[in-house]
């Protein structure tokens, strides 16, 4: 049970406080309700590029990192297709330093041309390091654009191409900031060795005076229901063939979300899971095979992806996978199998909750979804899932017309 207090400043900033006096540290987590899904299709990768610019100096503070390091703190940030999250960990004695830094960059950035120019290069190198210079680095770029036709999940957080990042202009940076980086579009979580009254006073002092901004109304195109299977074939100079399939699933708040999550754990993700056991160990068709889902705010994807053992044909591997899915659809999992993935989930949550930082970002995320208190209801929701629900989800999910397949062929001369 994660306890917290919650209040809202008059400018609309939502503040959550989670006290844990067993640590000497404090965590300050600021979540902004903007991600890659909010980007213009011709300017993808912008939300993430922008995250880098948040470290390039703010209105009154030329350097973000130095004062924080001086206060014994560390920070980082990440951007997803749904949100952007910034976090600081520092000795609790120096909590106010984090308020000073975070509030100034919520007030306004310095908008330095030089910072933009350098971070464009840095992000291009990040793009190359993770997606261009790695074998199979472009699998998800292909799969996203196959599975989504209109929804902005059709591009990766890093962006669709280097050119989009290179083309960003300072005026666009300013517009993006004042549209999304405002108190009414943000959630502040303060956790660790802190107290509510102290946090309230600091929040009023540093964040209170920032103009509220306008609440961003998200109007994203809704992905139409897929009505026929889709296929794509790629040749690349990689050593092994890869098969990747996805199916459209519910959104994060959908009624079948927890059953879907448990279903992916039955199929993949552990040594005793079905696909690993059958296709890697028994039939020896795949070097590895994984099953997971995106858990995104808008309707996401369940994915199965694996590299084929050299010499195994794509057709044979695909057919064997299909047989596994057919078997899963035709017979509900046993109570024991369901119990196993529930136990695994319980254990994963317990380990995750050990870190104050992780508790803080979870609180922010559930608050973004609608209510931080839902964090404490998750275990109960998993416990309530039945084998019949898992069977129903698998039959709904693994329909041929809901399926996208990427055949990624190894070809030394491609």
């Amino acid at each position: 049970m994660i306890t917290f207090d919650r209040f809202t400043l008059s400018n609309g900033l939502r503040v959550l406080v989670h006290t844990d006096v067993s640590t000497p540290m404090a965590v300050v987590n600021v979540l902004y309700d903007v991600g890659a899904r909010d980007e213009d299709p011709d300017q993808t990768g912008f939300a993430h590029l922008f995250e880098h610019l948040m470290f390039g100096g703010s209105l009154h503070i030329p350097d973000y990192d130095e004062p924080l390091q001086l206060a014994g703190g560390e920070n980082n940030a990440y951007t997803t297709n749904d949100l952007t999250n910034y976090y600081i960990q520092l000795p609790a004695d120096n909590l106010e330093t984090a308020f000073w830094l975070e509030s100034d960059r919520m007030l306004s950035l310095a908008f330095s041309q030089k910072s933009l120019a350098v971070q464009q290069k840095v992000v291009c190198e990040e793009f190359k390091e993770h997606y261009l210079n790695k074998p199979y680095g472009d699998v998800w770029s292909h799969m996203r654009s196959l599975a989504y036709q209109v929804h902005p999940y059709r591009w990766m957080t890093i962006g669709r191409e280097l050119a989009h990042i290179e083309q960003a202009r300072l005026q666009q940076v300013k517009d993006f900031f004042f549209k999304h980086y405002t108190p009414c579009n943000a959630i502040l979580v303060v956790a660790g060795n802190v107290h509510v009254a102290q946090v309230r006073a600091l929040a009023e002092k540093w964040f209170g005076p920032i103009p509220s901004g306008t609440r961003y109304q998200r109007k994203l195109p809704v992905e139409p229901t897929q009505t026929a299977p889709r296929y794509k074939m790629i040749q690349a100079p990689v050593p092994l063939d890869l098969l990747c399939k996805t199916w459209h699933m519910t959104d994060r708040l959908g009624a079948s979300y927890h059953a879907t999550d448990l279903l992916t754990d039955m199929l993949g993700g552990s040594a005793s899971s079905r696909l690993h056991q059958q296709l890697v160990k028994e039939q020896k068709l795949f070097v590895h095979i994984d099953c997971y889902h995106f858990g995104s705010s808008d309707p996401g994807l369940v994915a199965i992806e694996g590299k084929l053992v050299e010499g195994v044909s794509m057709e044979k591997a695909e057919q064997a996978l299909q047989e596994q899915l057919n078997a899963f659809k035709s017979q509900p999992p046993s109570e024991q199998e369901l119990e196993k993935v529930k136990n695994k989930t319980e254990s994963a949550i317990a380990f995750e909750d050990m870190s104050v930082m992780s508790r803080a970002s979870s609180l922010a995320y559930y608050e973004l979804l609608g209510d931080a208190a839902w964090m404490n209801e998750e275990l109960g929701k998993y416990a309530a899932v039945t084998t019949a629900q898992v069977a129903a989800v698998s039959n709904e999910l693994f329909r041929p017309e809901n399926q996208n397949t990427l055949y990624y062929y190894a070809n030394p001369s491609a």
Binding site: Q69, G73, D93, K121, V238, K340, N343, V356
Partner: protein
């Protein structure tokens, strides 16, 4: 109106009185040492069985790592699948790890499942059978994984730089090849298992919210195992002569993996602790000289880091980055320029003070939680360092001065001593 230009007052982290929470020390009936940290709010446990069974003990490449990996591949009473199923059923994690001197397994679980798990772990450590078909599958899949990894320039660079520094015959420098996987036999694994696990030597590192009867249970399941300490073979360091390398690995590559490294003594050397501070200034954190210049000023890379390798017998000082193909040369030039600057100019007091505070704040954060605490103790114990080493570390962070660091830079930042490798 608040003055937003003015930084709020801070408590200098450098003044913190940091203490490393002591462990409880016990011995099982067979003399096995148990180190325990009882802390944390969640009902979880981490238990590590750490054997003298690392790469250094093998006489054939990959035997130690493969024996360790296949510990879950079946016992006299359970198949691999049955073991996996039992472990997964209670949501536990049983991870294997093979390092240079040590190898073993680590259990993470909810306390309520410990009674199911301890007998299983005992079984794995005493009755593994290494079935032929599991070995064959492992060989096949590992060779294929290797073929994928060899397409990654950073993976290739990581292997080669270690081989240059220590020699390909040294445990710190040797690496795998398809033929080394082919040469593995079940008999060799069984022999290694028999000597280094069944009749070997292990230590137990335990952390979490410790149940009162845990020690008694550990003694019940592991206190009767035979212990016979193997002696650590000595290896000659055989660094290669040639210092500069440029390797073409992927004709379509858009980045180069850069590794620049020199030998450095281990943690017992008096220069080691001051070098940790110098390294932090140089390339050890986001505000470091390398990061500020090469990422934040020039945008040549997504990240650049320097570090001292965490090795027990001897170490090395390493600089590692991935940079755009066309700026690799410029990146290397800047790395040496930053070394040169540390040799020629004392570090300004302001910068040094920031680094001291940053390191102390990081240390405070690192001591947070049972798993972090036991990790720090383990590092001291495995390196044969006394508890006072922790305080010496803090003393050094607080007191090492700019002049000492400059002398240290002059001693170690001589470009001629460094291996230099670019893999594109």
């Amino acid at each position: 109106m608040i003055d937003r230009k003015k930084m709020p007052p801070i408590v200098d982290a450098v003044h913190y009185q940091l203490e490393l929470k002591p462990y409880a020390h016990h011995q099982l009936d067979n003399g096995v040492e148990v180190y325990m940290i009882d802390a944390g709010a969640e009902d979880v446990l981490q238990i590590e069985w750490l054997y003298k069974a690392g790469n250094s003990y093998e006489t054939q490449n990959l035997i130690a790592a493969t024996t360790n990996y296949l510990l879950r591949a079946g016992t006299t009473t359970h198949t691999a699948y049955e073991l996996d199923e039992k472990i997964d059923y209670v949501g536990a994690y049983v991870n294997r790890g093979c390092y240079n001197e040590q190898a073993g397994i680590t259990l993470h679980c909810l306390n309520k499942h410990i009674d199911v798990l301890l007998p299983l772990i005992r079984e794995v450590l005493t009755e593994s059978v290494f079935p032929e078909h599991e070995l064959l599958l492992y060989q096949q899949n590992m060779k294929q994984r290797l073929s994928v990894n060899l397409r990654k320039s950073d993976y290739v660079a990581g292997r080669l730089i270690d081989a240059y520094l220590f020699g390909e015959e040294h445990p710190y420098g040797k690496y795998s090849s398809p033929s080394s996987f082919d040469s593995l036999t079940r008999e060799a694994l069984l022999a290694f298992y028999d000597r280094y696990y069944k009749r070997g030597h292990f230590q137990l590192f335990v952390a979490g919210k410790i149940p009162v009867d845990l020690l008694e249970k550990l003694n019940r399941y592991f206190g009767d195992l035979p212990i016979d300490v193997p002696s650590l073979p000595t290896y000659l360091l055989q660094p290669v002569e040639q210092k500069k390398y440029s390797i073409q690995n992927d004709p379509a590559g858009v980045q180069g993996a850069i590794r620049i490294a020199r030998p450095f003594p281990n943690r017992h050397h008096p220069d080691f602790l001051p070098a940790l501070v110098l390294n932090t200034v140089f390339g050890g954190f986001f505000g470091s000289r390398l990061m500020s210049n090469i990422r934040e000023e020039k945008g040549y890379t997504y990240g650049i880091h320097s570090y001292l390798l965490n090795l027990q017998q001897t170490s090395a000082w390493m600089i590692s980055t991935e940079a755009g193909k066309d700026v690799c040369e410029a990146t290397i030039r800047e790395i040496y320029a930053e070394m040169n600057r540390l040799c020629n100019e004392p570090i300004a007091e302001e910068e040094l003070n920031l680094v001291r505070n940053y390191m102390m704040g990081g240390l405070l954060g690192d001591l947070d939680g049972p798993f972090q605490l036991i990790a720090r103790w383990k590092n001291l114990i495995l390196n044969g360092l006394p508890p006072a080493h922790f305080h010496r570390t803090i003393d050094t962070i607080r007191n090492v001065d700019a002049q000492q660091l400059q002398v240290l830079a002059q001693r170690y930042f001589n470009p001629a001593d460094f291996y230099e490798l670019v893999v594109v």
